[in-house]
């Protein structure tokens, strides 16, 4: 009996996003930021959302978290279900209390996210106090343990320090500590290492990878760097101009990308010489796009790409792509290797 219950729980996805459409509107102009996004995440899974500026990745995260400013942002349609409950139509208070200790977020800039006038230990202890009713003294002890867990040396002394006394990498660890304090089920990380040095970046990514592997923490990582994503993620969501262009197992996509854009990103990350880059820039999202958004820059584009927006289709198990020419690309990939 218990086994069946457990498998039931494992099978139902933790997060389901269905046909999300978000605009920015000001007066007569609309910017189509997210144009029909659908994906799901299971418990314990690490999914990387890969995209450049204008891809809609940050808007997506903010919509899931509920931090998107709603004018000028406007939710056109779609649903976000977390652990079976619909978030987007929920009242703000109910949503906060549902999300509170189950969804956590790590930002790019830790200094902006930490309060400068309270010690780090106090801020962590407060989290326990507010959400678990723990007295502050016990909370301070728990804070020390957390800081140790995330690899901060002299953790028991450093609980009494302030944010500005920590270096960039250490602050990021502190922010991670705060976010996992209540053992959330889902961690959203928006470019968590972009502002850090290379060696520190690697340490932080290693920390996140370990946390995810050792607990059942699901992680949605937003990044523009496909190599970073490749090191921690099980699955990729590659976004371009507000839609998913390719989705699936990280290993498969790196080995044989099925979308020209993904292929360009993978090439840039893996090849060592100066290659002919894809020309042009991301499209102007103020206009509704007929056909494929990537078409103007795509070396494989044909007439149909201009007229018909390709839909996300499975090309093999655990890989879907939105492209009219994915078979042709697969053949070319096989030749060049």
């Amino acid at each position: 009996m218990r086994d069946t219950v457990q498998t039931e729980a494992v099978r139902e996805p933790l997060l389901v996003v269905d046909d999300l459409r978000v605009n920015f509107e000001m007066g007569e102009t609309s910017v189509y930021a997210v144009r029909g996004l659908s994906f799901s995440m299971n418990r314990g899974e690490v999914v990387a959302v890969i995209g450049e500026s204008g891809s809609g990745k940050s808007v997506t995260i903010k919509t899931i978290l509920g931090t998107l400013q709603m004018p000028p942002g406007r939710l056109l349609s779609g649903s976000v279900r977390f652990d079976g409950e619909e978030l987007l139509t929920m009242a703000p208070r109910a949503r906060r209390s549902l999300q509170g200790d189950r969804i956590a977020m790590v930002f790019q800039d830790a200094l902006a996210a930490l309060n400068p006038v309270y010690t780090i230990g106090w801020q962590i202890a407060e989290i326990f106090h507010v959400h678990r009713g723990m007295p502050m003294s016990a909370g301070m002890r728990a804070a020390g343990e957390l800081l140790q867990l995330v690899g901060i040396p002299n953790a028991t002394q450093r609980v009494n320090e302030y944010a500005h006394q920590f270096s960039g990498g250490m602050r990021q660890r502190v922010m991670i500590a705060m976010s996992i304090a209540l053992r959330p089920q889902l961690l959203l990380a928006d470019e968590p290492t972009t502002a850090l040095d290379v060696t520190v970046q690697a340490q932080i990514m290693q920390l996140l990878a370990r946390l995810s592997a050792e607990t059942e923490l699901a992680m949605l990582l937003v990044t523009h760097n496909i190599a970073i994503a490749a090191e921690v993620a099980d699955r990729f969501l590659v976004m371009y101009a507000g839609s998913i262009v390719e989705m699936g197992s990280a290993d498969k996509i790196i080995a044989a990308p099925a979308h020209p854009y993904t292929k360009a990103l993978v090439d840039l990350a893996t090849r060592e010489d100066v290659i002919d880059p894809i020309p042009g820039a991301p499209p102007d999202l103020r206009k509704a796009i007929d056909g494929c958004a990537f078409e103007p820059r795509c070396p494989f584009a044909t007439e149909i790409c201009r007229r018909v927006d390709p839909e996300l289709r499975h090309v093999q198990v655990r890989q879907s792509v939105a492209c009219h020419h994915s078979e042709r690309l697969a053949k070319e990939s096989a030749w060049t290797g």
Partner: protein, 298 residues
């Protein structure tokens, strides 16, 4: 220029203000000299006439004063004085103050410290005390009044220009200009001044209104322009005596001051947006979506 016109058309309040101010300028500098002599004409039969008595003729449209002089004509003549003082002071102060502020802010060092201490000294005097001292020692002629206003307002422009210069001095584009071989003077003139200009222009537009009010206060104290010349503030000061019986003698000049100062305030707000290439989208109607897209996405 065409661009500015279209931006003006979009912003209704600014458009109205600009038209009003343009009209005032025409009145002050074109019409006033023409009617200057007739403004002093006394007509003792028509003393203290209230406004809008059509039988008294168009000259008495806004009423007459104790000597039967047409308030309308006197106001027109006075507009010349008022605007000359306000506009000249504003532009002169802006030019001198900005130049000192930018130079001091960019080079720093001893000269900058001296300039700032000088500004502090001026600021430590209440404006009216300064006026009293100044105009008591020298006679209250128009040039002296302008001089006083310039000295009084100089520290403001120096401070603003210097602050903006300091905040921009370390920008990469200044380094780039240095890298290209530009001299310090060239940088101040071609790189920093255009950045500082929108703020200064806004300040000038605001200041014109403020200086008018200041000049009126001086007239109120008897330190303003002396007879037979008179400014709007002077008219208000004269009419004070009869405020309960002949209300029009204070109200209409006061209204003129108020509306002109208000228009300059509104226009200064528009100027702030129009002179900054990055803010212009607010006046252009289409750029808004893109601005938002750039800020909200990523």
């Amino acid at each position: 220029m065409k661009n500015y016109l279209s931006m003006l058309l979009v912003d209704r309040p600014a458009l109205v203000s600009a038209m009003f101010l343009a009209a005032i300028v025409v009145v002050a500098f074109v019409i006033a000299p023409i009617i200057a002599e007739t403004a002093q004409l006394q007509n003792l039969r028509l003393r203290m006439q209230p406004p809008f008595q059509w039988e008294n003729g168009w000259a008495a449209l806004l009423g007459t004063d104790a000597l039967g002089r047409s308030l309308l004509k006197r106001m027109i003549a006075a507009s010349n004085i008022t605007l000359t003082i306000a506009v000249t002071s504003a532009f002169l102060t802006a030019f001198i103050g900005t130049a000192i502020g930018i130079a001091g802010g960019y080079r720093g060092g001893f000269a900058d410290s001296i300039a700032m201490r000088f500004a502090d000294v001026i600021l430590s005097f209440p404006m009216l005390l300064l006026a009293l001292l100044f105009l008591y020692l020298l006679e209250p002629a128009i040039t002296n009044i302008i001089l006083l206003l310039v000295i009084g307002r100089l520290p403001l422009y120096m401070r603003v220009a210097r602050a903006e210069t300091l905040s921009n001095r370390n920008m990469l584009y200044i380094d780039a200009a240095r890298g290209l071989g530009a001299s310090g003077f060239s940088i101040c003139l071609n790189e920093i001044a255009p950045v500082v200009l929108p703020t200064i222009a806004t300040l000038v537009a605001l200041d014109i209104g403020f200086l008018m009010l200041l000049e009126s206060a001086l007239s109120f104290l008897g330190l303003g322009v002396q007879s037979p010349n008179v400014s709007w503030g002077g008219l208000v000061a004269e009419g004070r005596r009869w405020i309960s019986s002949s209300w029009w003698l204070t109200v209409f000049p006061g209204l003129a001051i108020f509306l002109t100062a208000l228009s300059s305030n509104v226009l200064s707000n528009w100027l702030r947006m129009a002179t900054d290439p990055a803010q212009r989208w607010r006046l252009e109607g289409q750029g808004k979506g893109r601005e938002l897209a750039e800020r909200g996405q990523g």
